[in-house]
């Protein structure tokens, strides 16, 4: 999908530039945009390494496992069809913890592992069930405790206090996640409503 989006953005820019007469600006923008990407990454390199270093300590000291245990009662409520102490539940909790701490590199493999375990435990073939959908929804919403990327960008642009958005981010992302989960419960209930189920058996 990114192939099309990227090509689309560039082609639209060029076509637009022809009509607005902004061709010189667009051609210099191509180079300056690429250049500023380098500046951003270099500018954030220190903060990025500092952050990853701290997180490595959290990982090695098994803080992540502790947090996973701490959040598991909540996750059990969200995914009631998983065994409370099964492999799937364990992988789910580890993935959610990695996401909370912003360990993007660790979260994806743990998440894939969780998906495989959910599939196995719930004997799914090619259709997702409620627990799996809720798990993916949790991964498509941001549950990161510290909004590092946004804060680093804010630092670059002279924010008085780059991390001051954190409480606001917490409230916003919790509400967003709650809305997503509620919608998944609602849609799941609609699909499995008695009327529908009866109609389906009639068809069969």
């Amino acid at each position: 999908m990114m192939n099309y989006i990227w090509a689309f953005i560039i082609i639209v820019s060029l076509i637009f530039a022809v009509f607005t007469g902004n061709i010189p600006a667009v051609s210099s923008a191509m180079i300056s945009g690429a250049q500023s990407a380098v500046e951003i990454v270099l500018g954030l390199l220190g903060a990025m390494c500092m952050w990853n270093g701290l997180m490595k300590i959290a990982e090695e000291s098994r803080l992540t496992g502790k947090i996973a245990k701490l959040i598991s009662p909540l996750i059990r409520r969200i995914m009631p069809d998983l065994k409370p102490h099964g492999e799937a539940m364990n992988a789910v909790c580890m993935n959610i913890t990695a996401n909370l701490l912003g360990l993007g590199n660790a979260a994806t493999p743990l998440g894939l592992c969780a998906m495989r375990e959910i599939k196995k435990e719930c004997r799914l073939t090619d259709r997702a069930n409620d627990s799996m959908i809720r798990f993916v929804v949790m991964n498509t919403s941001s549950i990161q405790l510290i909004p590092t990327t946004a804060a680093m960008l804010r630092m670059r642009h002279g924010a008085a206090s780059p991390f001051d958005i954190t409480p606001c981010v917490w409230v916003t992302s919790s509400a967003a996640l709650a809305a997503g989960l509620l919608m998944s419960i609602l849609l799941g209930a609609l699909k499995e409503s008695p009327g529908r189920a009866a109609r389906r058996t009639n068809h069969a």
Binding site: W6, V26, G33, K56, E59, N139, L153, A176
Partner: protein, 175 residues
């Protein structure tokens, strides 16, 4: 008060991790160095993506197309209390992480980090995720084809996050 709280979170978090590491007898500095190397790798990995996307977004802005798009969608954004500058971010956020980072960067440099648009953009970036990417990677990875109501649920979360960013930025920062 909330602003003060935001200031304390980072140092408190760092101190907690280091002290916890010491108590668990982890050689904290060695560990830190290993992690920092990972940070180097991650940065190197996102650089090419960011170059491509930031070049594209900067071109879009220079051509005037971004402004045109923003103007078209301005009434929609303002109706839900969002500054029109975040329209492109709202569109690209569910699709591309680096792409939205490129747009946040351009919003912050145009309007300033502590402007209303800058704050809303930062909150959106911090409170939403790359929905379509996560869906593709996770379901693709285990061969689930029928994803039922995943997308509408996930997009409900994104939409809620975006609308709330506008409202809550006003509440938290008195703008």
């Amino acid at each position: 008060m909330p602003e003060k709280l935001g200031d304390c979170i980072m140092p408190a978090f760092a101190a907690f991790i280091i002290i916890y590491g010491l108590f668990s007898r982890v050689s904290v500095f060695d560990c830190f160095l290993n992690g920092a190397k990972d940070g180097l790798k991650t940065s190197a990995n996102i650089l090419p993506t960011l170059i491509g996307l930031l070049a594209a977004v900067t071109m879009l802005r220079a051509s005037g197309a971004l402004e045109a798009l923003t103007n078209v969608l301005k009434p929609v954004a303002n109706a839900v209390g969002l500054p029109e500058q975040v329209v492109p971010l709202a569109l690209l956020r569910p699709v591309s992480g680096s792409g939205s980072m490129a747009i946040v960067e351009s919003i912050l440099s145009e309007n300033g980090a502590d402007s209303f648009a800058g704050r809303v953009a930062s909150v959106i970036q911090g409170s939403t995720e790359t929905t379509f990417y996560a869906v593709a990677v996770y379901y693709g990875g285990v061969g689930i084809k029928n994803i039922a109501h995943t997308i509408p649920s996930a997009l409900t979360a994104d939409l809620t996050g975006m609308v709330l960013s506008g409202i809550l930025a006003k509440v938290f920062f008195g703008m």
